[in-house]
Amino acid sequence: MDPPNSKRPCHAPSVTSSIEFPCSLPTAPGFNQSNIDMTISSFLSLSDLPLFSSPLSMGCSFDRVLDKVIPSAVGTSHDEFKQDRFLDHTLQLASLLYKSTERCIRKRATLQNSISWPLLPELTIKVFSMLDTKSLIQASACCTMFNKCATDRVCYSHIDLTTAAKHVDNGVVCIMIHRAGKELRSLKLGSISPSAGYISLLTRSCLAPLTFNHGFAGGHLRSLHLYYLRSMDVESLSTVLSACLNLTDLKIVGFVPLEQLELLTRNCRLIKHLFIEIYSSAGRITDSSLLKFVDNCANLISLSLLCFLLNDTIAQKLVRGFRQLKYINLSRSLEISGCFLRGLGLSCKDSPLETLILRNCYNLEEREVLLFLNSLLAGDFKSIRLIDVSNRQGLVCDGDSRTSEPRFPIEELKKQRPNVTFVAVFEPQPSLLSSSSGEVYSDGTSSW
């Protein structure tokens, strides 16, 4: 008989009995670890022998050995018990061998990958830092090397969780923020255009990690965009914002009736771009909070307050109060008639205002816009570049009637102020509700 073959039958039962607990030392006397290792390696090298090289013959050999366990006659229950145990052990061995081989394959693959991958880890991390958050996570699930590289702080500098809004919850936000550490620069949460059945998994304390360690992460944050986080309320939001001292760009869409602008922006003195849109007209700023708001945010360059209950006095104070304001968007403000534009002319000859957007302001009057345009022709508002008074329902003219074809001196405007774009579209347009599709600010203008 072949030597390996002769070894196997007599060793098989004892091998199984001593390898019941593979990680501990064998209990049977006369067997030490190296013996077992030798036995295992000679078993594994069986497949090299020409007689046993095909799986079919190996299978037959296995069958032959295991069939010995099946008794020809019915034995005692004790025998049956022993046979059961033997077969169980064999199964266990088989699965242990399988798992071990898989582990070995994985280790070898990792090693080969680390040798053959042409980029240094820093370069891989650099590539990852250019990926958006979702792609980053997908990449990190590829192999162990990518997994490790994807944990670097730099990759989480700009966290955008709006693309996977259905699955994002507080834990995810927390981990990402902690991963970013001091590299955190921008954070986007929520769902930009929520579907009808959308329920956010985020609760009101989802941004709490920004306040940890005395606002360590929050202090590095520069830009925060929150979309339709309905469970958020003013207190939790203002707690978070009080930790974000260096915030320059804040955008809140679709939740929280924000009467307390002052409260929100009390600590964010450096804020430059503020965009707040609420889904129902329910936000009236009080005078005192307005004053404080204007005081606090002296650096504001771009202001968008959509769907607020603003009247002309407030609008005027806003435009006058922010000395560096370049972009103002007060669309869908019900009570604005436009007379605030009159008051601006004298004091704002040199105002830096470049963009004025008053879309869909129901009470906007044709007369006021006309006066405003005349003041432009007269030379006011030297920096203005874009004016938009489009309205699905036309402008108010002469009392209660509305007009969709107002008489504006457009030709003259083009001649005298050629770099000014005047937009006044009055046809009913398909839904403009997803206003937050326009994004990035550059020089204070935004594509809305």
Binding site: I105, R106, K107, A109, T110, Q112, N113, W117, P118, L119, L120, L123, K126, V127, F128, M130, L131, D132, S135, I137, Q138, A139, S140, A141, C142, C143, T144, M145, F146, N147, T151, D152, R153, A164, H167, V168, D169, N170, G171, V172, C174, I175, M176, H178, R179, G181, K182, L202, T203, R204, S205, C206, A208, P209, T211, F212, N213, H214, F216, T239
Partner: protein, 339 residues
């Protein structure tokens, strides 16, 4: 590469060449302006004075093989001419990076070793565009990566595997200090901060999202990133979370699981009773005595330092010492004999 240097070199070398030797030993000469576009070559010429003759050729780093080098030279040749418009450069760049991914990776590596930053940025961005929006299988196929993650690891791509026992002990120490501070505060009758909704990193990271595998999942507690001292909070009574936690508890380190109860989002409580005690006991069991001694000594060291800082900070606004223990490696600075 300053103007002065160029000026000095110009009168002597009119249309001169620089000699470069690639990793495979072949030597070639390249026009000076083209070669000088690469900062690394520039440095070698100026600082070491090599490259002027065949015998003193500059040997390029190993990552630059001849094929890549000729590509890089093409790039340099195009870009170093001063009169190019931005549009021209852009179109050239876009055509330039059209190559298969393997070569793109090699090119990135070669450009990096020559310190040619604009080319590194260009190629990295191209690689990022390739990776964007693809599933892991697709990415693996493109880059010929082995699938060497276990099933569990794939489901938890945000797991951080830094599990340094020193960090754990330090956290224990912080926890003790926090407790002491709290005691003193209470005795002094100082008003504790309200709305303390801070959690320890471990507790938070214990959150697991039990939905489909594509979803981002996290595991518990393997990550020990502590930037400054943290206050722990009470676990919230979120039963739903507890269930999902239990489902995945086998995947976690048992000690972490045992110690902190899963808490989760919306902790409405303001009381922060630190659970430091229970965590201490559980962790104690695993560190063998020899290691523990060494670690205890280090911890004592830190304790002394912390003590002095804590005493100072007590009287002031309670801004504790900034100990940046960061999971990504700042601890390497402190490590003595690593285990």
């Amino acid at each position: 590469m300053s103007e002065f240097d160029l000026a000095v070199m110009k009168p002597e070398t009119m249309k001169s060449y620089i000699w470069l030797q690639t990793a495979d030993g072949s030597i070639q000469q390249v026009e000076q302006e083209v070669a000088m576009f690469c900062p690394m070559i520039c440095q070698e010429v100026i600082q070491k004075g090599v490259g002027s003759s065949k015998n003193h050729a500059i040997s390029l780093p190993q990552r630059v093989n001849p094929a890549m080098f000729s590509l890089i030279l093409d790039y340099c040749r195009f870009h170093q001419l001063p009169g190019r418009s931005n549009k021209e450069l852009k179109t050239y760049d876009e055509r330039f990076i059209r190559m298969d991914t393997k070569r793109l990776c090699e090119l990135t590596s070669a450009a990096d070793s020559l310190q040619l930053k604009p080319l590194v940025d260009l190629t990295s961005r191209a690689l990022a565009r390739i990776i964007e929006g693809k599933t892991p299988e697709e990415i693996r196929e493109i880059f010929h990566l082995p699938d060497d993650l276990t099933e569990e690891e794939k489901l938890e791509p945000l797991k951080n595997t830094m599990d340094d026992p020193r960090i754990r002990l330090l956290n224990r120490l912080y926890a003790k200090k926090r407790k002491e501070l709290k005691e003193r505060e209470r005795l002094k009758d100082v008003e504790v901060e309200e709305h303390v909704d801070e959690r320890s990193v471990d507790d938070l990271l214990s959150f697991i999202n039990g939905r489909d595998p594509k979803v981002v999942k996290m595991s518990k507690g393997k990550k020990k990133k502590k930037k400054k001292k943290d206050l722990k909070i009470v676990s919230s009574n979120d039963i739903h979370e507890k269930e999902s936690h239990d489902l995945h508890s086998k995947q976690q380190c048992v000690e972490e699981t045992g110690s902190s109860v899963p808490n989760l989002p919306s902790a409405e409580d303001d009381n922060s009773m630190p659970k430091a005690g229970s965590e201490d006991e559980d962790i104690d069991d695993e560190i063998d005595p020899a290691m523990r001694e060494m670690l205890d000594r280090e911890v004592e060291d830190f304790a002394q330092r912390l003590n002095s800082n804590w005493v100072r900070s007590l009287g002031q606004e309670r801004r504790p010492v900034h100990f940046s223990i960061n999971g990504n490696g700042t601890t390497r600075r402190r490590t003595g004999p690593s285990p």
